[in-house]
Structure formats: C-alpha cells, structure tokens
Symmetry: C2
C-alpha cells in the first residue's frame, strides 16, 4: 500500500496534536512541510527524511509528497493548523485530478493514482484563538482568506460585504504578508460600515506556541501595523460580547439562551 | 485553584481527542455532558462522578458545571466536536456575565467568579467531514446553524442568502431535529437559486464513530429524509469539485493554484 498522509498538526502546542496525526507521523519515512512546521514537531522529526520547501513553493511541495508516496515511501505532508483549511490538502487533490485528466504527468515509476491518501484534520487557528479568549465562535461564523494572490480582490470584497451585512463572526486568515498590507485595512473599512465601532476583535499571534500573544481590541482600534503573517484576526458579530472577570478578559458570541433563562434555583449540585 | 475545563472531545474517534483534553479529563473529578458524549469517552469516565443531563437542559448543564467547579471540584464540561462551535462554551460565559451583572445569583458557597475557566477546542464535525472526503474547506467557508429555537428564522435565512450569493462553502450544523424538518428543505431551495444543481454536498453522519456514514450527492439530489440530528451537511461552493480515483470519490475546493501551475518536471523526488 502506497500511502500519503495529509496532516494538520494544530496551531503549535504539542498538546493539540491529535493521536491519529501522531501515529501517521510515526508511520512515515518522509515528512514534507514548510520548515517552521517541522520545527514545531520537535523530536518527532528525528530519523525521518525531511523535505523543507520554502513558502511560495506550495505546488512543488504537494508534487513532491505525491511523488515520494508513489515511489513507495510512506509520506506525510504537513501543515500547521488544519491542513484542510486554507492549506495544502486541497492542492493535493487539485494535482491528482489534473493527473487523471492528463494535464499533469509524472514518470511511470510514480503513479499518483495508486497512492492511498488519508487526510487528517487539526485544530485550526480560529479555534485556538476563540478558545483562549472564551467562545467567539459560539454562533454563525465564517473564515475568509485575505490573500489575493490566487483569488481576485473583487471576489474577496464581495464576500466580506456579504458576511458583514449578514452579521457573521469572521475569521480572517492570511490577513497580511510582507508584500500585502492594504487588504486588512480595506476589510476593516468595509466592516465599520455595517458593524459597531466597539465590536470585539481578537488578535491571536503564534497561538499556543511559546511566544503566543493574544489580545482584544475594538474594530475601530484594529491597527494593521500590529498584525503580521502569523496573526489570526477574529472579528465578532454585532452580538459578540466582551467582559472582565478579575484580571481575565472574555469574549463570547451568545447563541441566545438568555432569552429563555429561568431563575437559577432550578439546579444545584 | 477552583477549575472548570470546557472541553471539545472531537467528533467521536478516540484518536481525535487532543492530549490537552485527555489531561483535563484525567484531572477532573466531575464530568458534565450529554450522555452520548460520555459514552464516547469510554474508559475515561471510570472513577469520575458523571452528570448526564438530557438534550434541552443546556442551561442547567452549564450552571451545574459552574456550581461544581465553584464548590471546589475540578470539573469538565464536555461537548463532542469543538465545544466552542455551536456548543456549550458560549453558555458558560453568558451565565458568568449574567452573574457579574447580578442577573444570575448563586449561593455564597458557589462563587462562579473565583473559578478558573479553561476552554480547549476539539475537531469539529465539518473538519472531520471535509477530511474524510478530501478538502471541501480548502477555500472561504462558513458555518450556519439551522436551529431556529434560539435564532429567528429570518436571521438564518438572511445569512443563507448572503453566503449563497457570495459563494461560500457552507457547513450546516443542526440541520434537522425530531420536530424541525422544513428548515433544511428551505435552505436547499435558497441555495439552488444561486448555485448549480450539481454542486457537491457531503453528508457526514456519526463521523469517525463506529457507525460512520459519509456520502456525497448533488445539491439537487439532497434528500432531507436522509438527514438526521447527527448529520453534518457540507455544501460546496461553485468552485468545489468532485472526482473519482479508482473506487474512491474525492471532494475539494481549490484555492486556485491551477492558474499558476507550471510543467511538472520542475520537481522530482
């Protein structure tokens, strides 16, 4: 059985790697990933052949993983977070479908069609950000990538307008990059047309990693200069609430139970 | 330290429970959850005091968990999937904020304000459904609950119209219940106004559990009678593709790499 594992290793903490992903990494001889993700795996990469392709070489990374697996090496293609969410999994299938249609070719020794592919999800950044501050994803939400490298900006803007008007909680992935900075400012502008200036916004950087930095501001205060490639931006809906208990700040989006809340004497431990 | 763990135990498989959730369960004396979720935890519930409150008693479950923790018992409130996504976590904070504002009271012995709350995410049903069939969440997506018990149907319909028009992949949570069946049929009708009849739809029932059943149909074929409370309905965008490789069917939503695909000879293992 020729095997390709397509794995999400979670936001960073080893305590968020699922056992099935652990087992798949252990069963692989070759790991293909962006270097930072391999570093986060620590000792797990020992005795493995590592294929560290830089950012921007996503297609090459997916092809390499398919080729290695087709050549008989049990291979893991790894992204941090959930590899199924704005990450490498979709590219594997895009390439495989091209191969089946003849648009993509490989040598006879490396027949991708024989590879058994298993995709395993991981905890995505929006989930880690929401959990660390409470429960911002408690009601209807969406995830939008602000990268216009592969998607026309008009499409992205249409989506932001739609979910701003329909009052979704919004997780922005790829909010900025070294070359791309105005998109988040534009998104903020669009949101302010539809949502209160004091809407809570969570900024989660390097979530669950040693240098994690999570903060809350209002939509009006959102400062693009404080956001980098490693930051997840989570914008509340008009219902999202922020409160303080002692020195801890919480952010949550209610589902609306308050409407049916009855006197508290009904249950006691 | 009085401690309340608010835990997502994943879709069902023990191999998808994160180590941090495992540790939190192990550190708890009391587990509060809907009975089915406790069953899925197997041996982990041994030697714990179990508080199995039925569906519909969500507020009582959250209050009980806060009371137990405030009384000094390390307590875990558990939902399957991600407890932060359409589940119990948000209710804990809704109650805590009510307590701080005086709207919710409890006896002096049980001061919720002293409880250290830790929320830990889990793999949500949409992630497991997407992974089992490929990578349907590969580009912009949203999650919408079809339950109109707490949210007016007009709000839900506005949201469906918005994301249908803006071409998001859509994960429907709580698609039906014993009493609620027309909402999914109406959602299908709204989607068909905006999206091709052959848009792929994934139905994932009891994901990663022993009796898992995952299937793909088209939007036009979507049969509400085949959907129950335990089913996650994942509707593709207009870009979502479905293809067959041998006896395996894959569904993925491309990010658009094909546009920049170069000849395959650039990388070989």
């Amino acid at each position: 059985m020729k095997r390709l594992y397509v794995l999400g290793s979670g936001p960073g903490s080893e305590l968020m790697i699922t056992p099935q992903v652990e087992q798949a990494i252990a069963a692989s001889s070759d790991l293909v990933a962006y270097g930072l993700y391999l570093e986060l795996l620590g000792e797990r990469t020992r005795d493995k052949t590592l294929h560290d392709l830089p950012l921007g070489e996503e297609i090459e990374r997916a092809r390499l993983a398919l080729n290695l697996a087709a050549a008989g090496k049990p291979t893991a293609l790894i992204s941090s977070g959930d590899i199924g969410i704005f990450a490498m999994a979709t590219l594997v299938f895009e390439l495989l479908e091209r191969r089946l249609s003849g648009a993509e070719t490989e040598s006879d020794d490396h027949d991708w069609r024989q590879v058994d592919i298993q995709v395993m999800p991981g905890i995505s950044a929006m989930q880690a950000a929401a959990a660390s501050m409470g429960a911002a994803l408690g009601h209807d939400f969406c995830a939008v990538s602000l990268s216009d490298l592969l998607t026309p900006w008009e499409t992205i803007e249409t989506r932001i307008r739609a979910v701003a008007a329909a009052d979704f909680v919004i997780a922005f992935y790829n909010p900025v990059s070294r070359k791309r900075r105005w998109q988040l400012a534009r998104a903020k502008e669009l949101l302010l047309q539809r949502r209160p200036a004091d809407t809570p916004v969570i900024l989660g950087r390097n979530l669950t990693r040693q240098d994690e930095r999570v903060s809350v501001c209002t939509l009006a205060q959102l400062d693009v200069e404080q956001v980098d490639m490693l930051t997840l931006v989570l914008v509340g809906s008009s219902a999202t609430r922020c409160f303080q208990n002692g020195d801890k700040q919480w952010v949550y989006t209610p589902r609306g139970y308050a409407r049916k809340l009855t006197p508290p004497e009904s249950v006691a431990p």
